[in-house]
C-alpha cells in the first residue's frame, strides 16, 4: 500500500485537487512518506514543496527531506557522470545512442532537473548497432542481467539488453520502447522520431525531442508496469503541462507510433491518480478517444495486475513482418540456446507458458476438423 500523502507529493507543482497536509505530519507518517519518496524518486518534489512553504514540517523533518534529496541527487550526478563515459565509449565504436527517460526527462521536460531523479541509464540504440553496443559495455566489465535467447535476438526482436556494471550502475540498451506488439510498432517509427539535445558538462547529449519524450513517458507508464506507477504518471502529467509540447504534435506522433490508445490511457490514469485539472485540453481530448477493437486487443496483455507476457510474445509475433523473421522469433522464444537455458528461469517460465498456450491453440484449431 502506498504511504499516505505520496499522491500529494507526486502531484506537487501541477494543478491538482490533492492538498498538502494542514499540519505537521506525525513522526511515523512522515517516516513512511520519506521512505516512499526515496523509493519512487519523489524526494525532489517533496523538498521543493517544503522549500516553497506549501508543506508544513518540523525543523527536523525539513532537514530530513533535504538530506534525502541531496542523497538521491548525488546519485543522479554520479549516474550522469557514468552516462557521459558510456556515451563516449559507444561513440568511439560508432554507436549512435540517444538518451531516454531519467536524465533526458529531467533536463528537457521538468522545470528543474533537481525535481526528477533516476535509478539507471537508458539508451536507445539502433537495432543494427545493438550487438556492438553490448560488446562494448561488456568490454569494460558490464554483465548482461538476462542472456540473449539466441544470437541476434537483441538486434532483431528484443526490447533491449539490461547491462549491469561492477559498480552496480545499470545501463539499459533499448532497441525499442516496449515489449510485445507495441515494441515492434514503435520500433518502426523510432528512426523517424526527431532528436533534441541537452547539455551535460558542456557536452550536447542527444535524446528524443520533447514530443517523443512525452510520448515515451505515456508508453512507459502504461506498458511498463501494471498498474502505472505514480512516478511514471507524474512524468506524463509534467510533460503534458510543458509549454513547448503541442498537443497536435503529440497526437500526430502517437498516430505514427500506433500508440494513440496507449497515450490516452496514460493521460486518463495520470489525471485520475493525480487529480489534475479536468479543464486541461489533453484530458478532454483523451476522454473523447475510443480505442477500437484492435487496440483493445493489443493493450489487454499489458493491463491489469497479472501482465500476460505470453500474450505479449504472441502479439509481437503477429506484428513481425515476414515469415522468415517470424519463424526466427518463435524459435528464439520457444527454443532458446541450450547454453542459456539453465540460468534463465525467467525465460524458462515464459517459454513453458508459451508452449502451453500454443498447444492449447493447436488443440482448438484441430477440434473442428476432427
Amino acid at each position: 500500500m502506498i504511504a499516505p500523502w505520496t499522491e500529494t507529493v507526486a502531484a506537487h507543482g501541477l494543478p491538482t485537487g490533492h492538498r498538502p497536509p494542514g499540519d505537521v505530519l506525525a513522526a511515523s507518517t512522515w517516516s513512511r512518506l520519506v521512505t516512499e519518496c526515496r523509493r519512487r524518486r519523489l524526494c525532489g518534489a517533496l523538498a521543493d514543496a517544503i522549500a516553497r512553504g506549501s508543506w508544513p514540517t518540523t525543523e527536523a523533518q525539513r532537514t530530513d527531506a533535504f538530506d534525502a534529496q541531496r542523497a538521491v541527487t548525488s546519485r543522479d550526478l554520479l549516474l550522469e557522470q557514468h552516462l557521459l563515459g558510456t556515451l563516449a565509449r559507444l561513440e568511439s565504436v560508432g554507436v549512435q545512442a540517444r538518451v531516454l527517460k531519467g536524465p533526458a526527462v529531467a533536463h528537457l521536460v521538468y522545470p528543474d532537473p533537481a525535481l526528477r531523479s533516476f535509478r539507471d541509464i537508458d539508451l536507445l540504440v539502433p537495432g543494427d548497432q545493438m550487438d556492438r553496443a553490448v560488446a562494448t559495455l561488456m568490454g569494460v566489465g558490464a554483465r548482461r542481467r538476462y542472456p540473449e535467447p539466441r544470437p541476434g535476438f537483441d538486434r532483431r526482436f528484443g526490447k533491449g539488453a539490461a547491462m549491469r556494471h561492477t559498480n552496480r550502475v545499470e545501463v539499459d540498451l533499448h532497441r525499442t520502447l516496449a515489449q510485445g506488439v507495441y515494441g515492434e510498432l514503435v520500433h518502426r517509427a523510432l528512426a523517424a522520431t526527431p532528436s533534441a539535445t541537452f547539455t551535460l558538462a558542456g557536452r550536447e547529449v542527444e535524446t528524443l525531442d520533447r514530443t517523443g519524450l512525452a510520448l515515451h513517458a505515456c508508453v512507459h507508464a502504461v506498458l511498463g508496469s501494471a498498474p502505472p506507477t505514480l512516478e511514471d504518471l507524474r512524468d506524463v502529467a509534467v510533460a503534458l503541462h510543458h509549454p513547448r509540447i503541442e498537443l497536435d504534435d503529440l497526437w500526430e506522433r502517437a498516430e505514427a507510433w500506433q500508440a494513440t490508445s496507449v497515450m490516452c490511457h496514460a493521460i486518463g490514469a495520470a489525471w485520475t491518480e493525480l487529480r489534475l485539472d479536468d479543464e486541461h485540453p489533453a484530458i478532454a481530448r483523451a476522454n473523447r478517444h475510443r480505442p477500437d477493437r484492435r487496440d483493445r486487443r493489443r493493450m489487454s496483455p499489458y493491463l491489469g495486475p497479472g501482465r500476460d507476457t505470453t500474450a505479449m510474445t504472441l502479439g509481437q509475433l503477429g506484428a513481425i513482418e515476414g515469415l522468415g523473421p517470424r519463424v526466427a522469433y518463435l524459435r528464439a522464444v520457444v527454443l532458446p540456446d541450450s547454453a542459456l537455458r539453465s540460468p534463465t528461469r525467467r525465460w524458462r517460465r515464459g517459454v513453458d507458458s508459451l508452449r502451453t498456450r500454443l498447444r492449447a491453440t493447436s488443440r482448438t484449431r484441430r477440434r473442428p476438423t476432427s
Partner: protein
Amino acid sequence: MLWRRLHDGWLLVAADGFDDPVHLEGSASDVWELLAVPHTIGELTRSVVAQFGITDVAARGAVESCVAALSRHRLIEADPAGVVRDAEIAPPSSPR
C-alpha cells in the same frame, strides 16, 4: 562539470572524476555563484565582506579555503594571473 541547484545550496561533481559530489552551502554557495564569471581572490573576498559584513581577514580565509576545496575537486581552475573561474560550465545566473 555536473551540477544541481538545491534549496540549500549546490551539488557539484567533475564530469570525469571519481569523487563524490560536493555540497556547497552558505558562503561557499555564494562564492560558487560569483564564479559564473571569472574573479580574483581579492574580488571574491570583497564580495563576501559586503554580503556577510565580516572582516577582510575572515572573508579572505573563508574564500581561500573554499577555492582550495573546489580546486581539489577539479571544479574550478585558476589562470596564472590568479583569476579563478568554474572549470567547464557556468551555473545559471539566477536561482530558480
